[in-house]
Symmetry: C2
Subunit: 474 residues, 2 copies
């Protein structure tokens, strides 16, 4: 995971990004675009390029972009450049990171996994569904899908596979390990798409939607996702079972392992009960929030306060949650930049321009075209966040301008911003972790990813589309 530590800075790549940014900066500014909007665009592209090329770690790149925006007076510090850090959606994710820590710290995450394995795990397929259910249960309050798949699911998966004599390096990986890893990864991609709080970049979509006058609430997102999400989750373990069948198909021993592990854990501890209670509290008020008028971030802050006062988490846990602080920085800076690209008028101008080019076609053609381009360009991206930041705002603007119903455009982009992760072994946080396990060959990873990309698009746009029509979303 930390192999880049010593070489996290690539000066040639940084200079490359800087040159492209500088060229854009000095290009003649198109009519109708304000100077500061154009300059911000140049800085934004420099920042995004640096992230995509991995010139610097994302947070460092964002600070660098921020420094340039400030030193060039493109943005002022008093009421522009730091506004992202006061954005309530960002704090929803930051606080969800702290809350998710509770699943790991209390052991509740593992207990849930062993509970499902105990009840479903007598066959390999059941074991896979057990892990899938665990991922689904944890997803609403775990915005790091890497932590979910890599921190909770993978350790259990690996010890299970090892118990069944399936290891990466001695020709036994196809016994069961390959199947479980592939399934766990593809399942995590789906659960990431299902909740605002199940993937760190989802709130970016919420923010871009808000900039287009579309309010995506926590409950609204989950409601739109529930039908296609559950269908994808239902078919993926089975499909992978058919395409990459494990050699071991019966796992009676898994039940015993799970029983033993649960016994070792003893009865549910006080802290686990509190964690369960807070989790239920969060889900209920996130779902009802829109109706009751309680902001999702308010609910999250209250939940965190309960965990801290009850001692389930301590203040040290909060201060040490590096993923949260990392997210706060890049998110705060990227959201702010995207926000001002919109406020300063660049995105509306650009959307109108592209829409004019595309003019005359029905939105029912433009809509799938935009989504497919958005989806498959993910082969070029090494992070969902980079992809969303680079393309989502513009695609949303264009789609809405050519007549796609705004809510439909926004939420589809939100779902696709996760589903595209199925494709490669580098395209989303959990991918390098699970691929790095060594259970799966690269060509198999990509092949399955491509097959499932088609399945997922069909399920989410096809069946999903009908569901959204039924819900009256468009």
């Amino acid at each position: 995971m930390n192999q880049l530590e010593t070489s996290e800075v690539s000066i040639p790549k940084l200079i490359g990004a800087l040159i492209i940014g500088a060229i854009i900066w000095f290009l003649p500014i198109p009519e109708g675009v304000k100077t500061e909007a154009w300059h911000l665009l140049a800085i934004f592209i420099f920042t995004i390029l640096g992230i995509i090329l991995k010139a610097l770690p994302m947070g460092t790149m964002c600070f660098t972009g921020l420094a340039i925006a400030l030193l060039t007076n493109t943005l002022n510090i008093k009421n522009q450049a730091l506004t992202g850090f006061g954005n309530s959606t960002i704090w929803l994710i930051v606080i969800a990171f702290f809350i998710a820590r509770g699943f790991i710290k209390t052991g509740l995450g593992s207990r849930i996994a062993y509970f499902f394995i105990f009840h479903l795990g007598s066959k390999t397929l059941g074991l896979a569904y057990g892990l899938a259910l665990t991922d689904l249960v944890l997803a609403p309050a775990t915005p790091s899908n890497t932590a979910r798949a890599g921190g909770v699911i993978y350790p259990i998966l690996k010890s299970m596979a090892h118990n069944f004599g399936s290891d990466p390096d001695n020709g036994t990986r196809k016994k069961i390990g390959e199947y479980l890893v592939l399934t766990a990864f593809q399942v995590d991609i789906i659960t990431s798409a299902m909740f605002v709080t199940s993937m760190a970049a989802n709130p970016l979509i919420v923010q871009f939607a808000a900039n287009n006058g579309v309010e995506l609430t926590w409950g609204g997102w989950a409601l739109a996702a529930i039908v296609p999400g559950l269908i994808s989750l239902a078919i993926i373990p089975y499909l992978v079972f058919k395409i990459y069948p494990p050699e071991i198909k019966e796992t009676p021993d898994a039940k015993n392992i799970a029983r033993r592990k649960l016994k070792e854990m003893g009865p549910i501890s006080k802290n686990e009960w509190i964690m369960l209670f807070v989790f239920a509290f969060l889900i209920i008020f996130w779902i009802l929030g829109g109706t009751l008028g309680i902001n999702a971030t308010t609910t999250a802050i209250a939940g965190l306060a309960i965990l801290l006062i009850s001692g389930v988490l301590n203040w040290e846990d909060v201060k040490s949650e590096k993923g949260a602080w990392d997210t706060l920085i890049w998110f705060g800076i990227l959201v702010m930049m995207a926000d001002f690209l919109n406020k300063l008028g660049f995105i509306p101008w650009f959307s109108a321009l592209i829409a004019k080019e595309m003019g005359g076609h029905a939105w029912t053609l433009a809509f799938p075209a935009l989504l497919l381009i958005y989806f498959y360009s993910h082969y070029m991206f090494a992070s969902a966040t980079a992809h969303v930041t680079a393309m989502a705002a513009a695609f949303m603007g264009v789609g809405i301008t050519v007549g796609v119903p705004p809510y439909l455009m926004a939420i589809s982009l939100g779902f696709f911003s996760n589903l595209f992760g199925s494709t490669t072994h580098y395209g989303m946080g959990p991918a390098p972790v699970l691929f790095g396990s060594g259970y799966v060959e690269l060509t198999d990873w990509w092949k399955l990813g491509f097959y499932l990309s088609i399945i997922n698009i069909a399920v989410w746009l096809g069946i999903g589309g009908l569901w959204w029509k039924l819900l009256g979303l468009f």
Copy 2:
């Protein structure tokens, strides 16, 4: 340091604070005060009480207060409750924490200390001045005075004392250890007062001043502090030498130790040069910032970007800098609350009320009275931040309302918010660390603290007052 880890939550104290907050909440609201201002006052007092009583760690207490403010609809989340996190002064301090890490990581902090010891340390008094100079040099870019005194100065001090056969537990502490610890602590209090960026709570004063229409720039603060600050620094090591004379007065060996240490370190490394360059860059632009119109936070962000791009710091250092994240949270929430107590009209109303009571007296009487009450009430506080948050805004408001020149009132409170730290062994971050060394008896700590409090007040208000008059600050 972490002895409170297991018992960081005190439910009885929390309930105590809650009851007092609730009583205030339900009191009849005085005429002229808005309901939400009064409710925020109740929540604010609850939060401050919780911090002072150590019901919960400061960050946890702040999150709890924030949750209550949100759940009671006292503040809204969209454009009130999270605005503190976008405050540029807060980010100045957060980023200074990252930059200060560079002093420790590169070894530049220790090199500076050994450099001064090599040149000044042949006598005990010179050794003390050497450590004082080190503290002063690091102060402008090290907002954690605990990190400065505890992280850089103390390890060197302790190894020096040990080398001279002075240890805490075997009757040798008066040889030299007691003297060096007392001096290092009292010096750190002075350097904390001298720069906006040398103590984490100083920017709170800047913020309160801004709420009263007074702009305290980085350069303005440093200019007002330089004369009284240098005088205090010049006399404190000597005074302590007279009051608590060390048994060892000549330390020829210190020079040799320093020489050996410097030799071990070898020539100044590339990273140290970069650190030095960034440090010089920061100081220059912080000083000239007011004139050039470059905000101090912009300068800090640019400096951080240089350290990150050059690899002096890596992104992991930033994510792991717990003190910065701790400060961001409590600072962001407390500043926001204090800000809205002002904006919602409570502070102006309260100041006018007290000023009416004090009416008729010349401000030249009210001014020292307010400052002395402010100073000596620090015996009740276990943290500068808690004290500043609880009292500074109100005292500033009252002072200005009774006619104290606003700039004078603001900056004096700023200085006193550090100087009051000299008094106790618990009143400011470095105190428990240095007192915990075991070199100093409690009664001696308090006695010296009281003596020096009088000296410092005389120097800062007397000579300082003349200097400020000369500068035209009032």
